[in-house]
């Protein structure tokens, strides 16, 4: 379980630049979120996440860069269930992608095909391998 350095609820002006980068890259207005939790309620992957999607949005809203250490951004499978449920019109999947990109653009690879057995490489279809690499590697 991750521990986060700053859990204060106030917005520190020093954190403005991180929030602005996320908003620019995602095209989403984070201030629209009022923490209703609908995105988390509909997400099929929460059991594999250390932070609920709505918490990720809250941390990004506060400009807390530690959110990039969360497993949630990597377990998101961009199924857009959150997007269709958000009553404030935020595409949460876009925010997850922006957060992933902020990490991937430092030449980070979350996964590697080297971890797969020859059997897995033989049976996995192209569509799985390509989409997996596209979302989770630099």
């Amino acid at each position: 379980m991750l521990t986060f350095k700053s859990q204060q609820l106030g917005f520190n002006p020093d954190q403005r630049s991180f929030k602005e980068r996320v908003e620019e890259l995602s095209g989403e207005n984070l201030d629209l979120c009022f923490q209703c939790g609908a995105c988390s309620g509909g997400c099929p992957m929460t059991q594999e996440m250390d932070l609920l999607p709505s918490k990720v949005i809250r941390m990004a809203q506060l400009g807390l860069e530690e959110v990039l250490e969360s497993t949630t951004i990597w377990t998101c499978m961009t199924c857009f269930s959150c997007e269709v449920r958000c009553p404030r019109g935020i595409d949460v999947a876009n925010v997850m992608e922006a957060l992933r990109q902020l990490v991937l653009r430092r030449k980070y690879n979350r996964v590697s095909l080297d971890e797969l057995s020859p059997e897995e490489l033989r049976t996995l279809p192209q569509i799985a391998l390509i989409s997996n690499q596209r979302k989770l590697t630099a």
Binding site: L25, D91, Q126, S131
Partner: protein, 300 residues
């Protein structure tokens, strides 16, 4: 015959060959010819969501340009580009929207693609075969049926990218009916179940197969509880996750009964009396032939 440009995509030439073969059979029976795009490349499988991403729009836009050229050469009859795979549909359609609506990225894309003979004009319309069928009218489909699927209990499974995000999907996001209408036109019994729009686990299947098998189990067992004997899908990745994972599910959940997962075009071809197509059923699904034989849908 109406000639339509057709984009296959990577997996349709391999594991999902049966999807493509049956789609050709179905289209032919309805007076449509799917003309494969010349020099197509992978679409990228997923749409890049970052607002500054131009690079990953190039492959889909180049494919749309190929479709435009085919129209220009008189090889097809209109501006539509037909897809079968839900992920190709989503990726090509969204790249098209970026080109049409985002002026800044459009200018960059045009600037980069100077080696192309023509410039993409943004007029190709990306459609899914299901939309083409809906456009023809379900009555036309009904008339082509030779072997009604009487009593066959079919659960349509949509997954994510046929329906989401809002504005991109081909039907009502919350209450889709397009595949239900298709099953009814074929004379089958529609099994509605609450997980028909739940994600199957998508590309996380590569590194998180255990988690994905649990998602697949929820979807399959829900459909079975509602009485389904068969699932139909329009996505090769859903088909892999729901089909291939069943061995793993059976190991983790004693008592789980396998259930076949086939492409909607295969179901249509069977009802049209054309068999499942040359490539047959995929290696991922539990064998559907005992069920189909029992219902008399396989013999010529």
């Amino acid at each position: 015959m109406i000639r339509l440009a057709y984009y296959p995509g990577c997996t349709l030439k391999d594991q999902a060959k049966g999807f493509e073969d049956s789609a050709h059979l179905v289209a032919g029976a309805l007076g449509l010819e799917l003309v494969e795009l010349q020099r197509w490349t992978c679409c990228g499988t997923v749409h890049s969501l970052a607002t500054d991403d131009v690079m990953h729009q190039l492959a889909p836009i180049r494919n749309l340009l190929r479709a435009q050229e085919m129209k220009g050469e008189g090889l097809v009859d209109d501006d539509r580009l037909v897809t079968l795979c839900a992920m190709c549909y989503n990726t090509l359609k969204r790249a098209n929207s970026v080109f049409q609506e985002d002026e800044e990225r459009r200018e960059k894309i045009v600037e980069i693609m100077t080696k192309e003979e023509h410039q993409y004009q943004g007029r190709v319309k990306v459609v899914h075969l299901l939309e083409v069928l809906r456009g023809l009218g379900w009555q036309r489909v009904r008339e082509a049926v030779k072997k009604p699927l009487e009593g066959l209990r079919v659960a349509p499974y949509y997954g994510c990218l046929l329906l989401r995000p809002r504005g991109v999907g081909l039907d009502d996001t919350d209450n889709p009916t397009i595949m239900e209408n298709m099953v009814q036109a074929l004379g089958g019994e529609v099994v509605d179940f609450p997980y028909k729009q739940k994600c199957c686990g998508s590309y996380q299947t590569v590194h998180m197969p255990e988690t994905v098998s649990e998602l697949a189990h929820r979807i399959l067992s829900q459909a079975q509880e509602m009485g389904a004997e068969l699932l139909v899908t329009a996505c090769p990745l859903c088909e892999y996750n729901l089909g291939r994972m069943q061995d793993r599910i059976a190991r983790r959940h004693p008592g789980f009964q396998p259930i076949p997962v086939i492409y909607f075009t295969q179901l249509m071809a069977l009802a049209f009396g054309l068999g499942p197509g040359e490539a047959g059923f995929s290696p991922n699904t539990p064998d559907p032939t005992p069920l189909l034989e029992e219902r008399g849908l396989l013999e010529g």
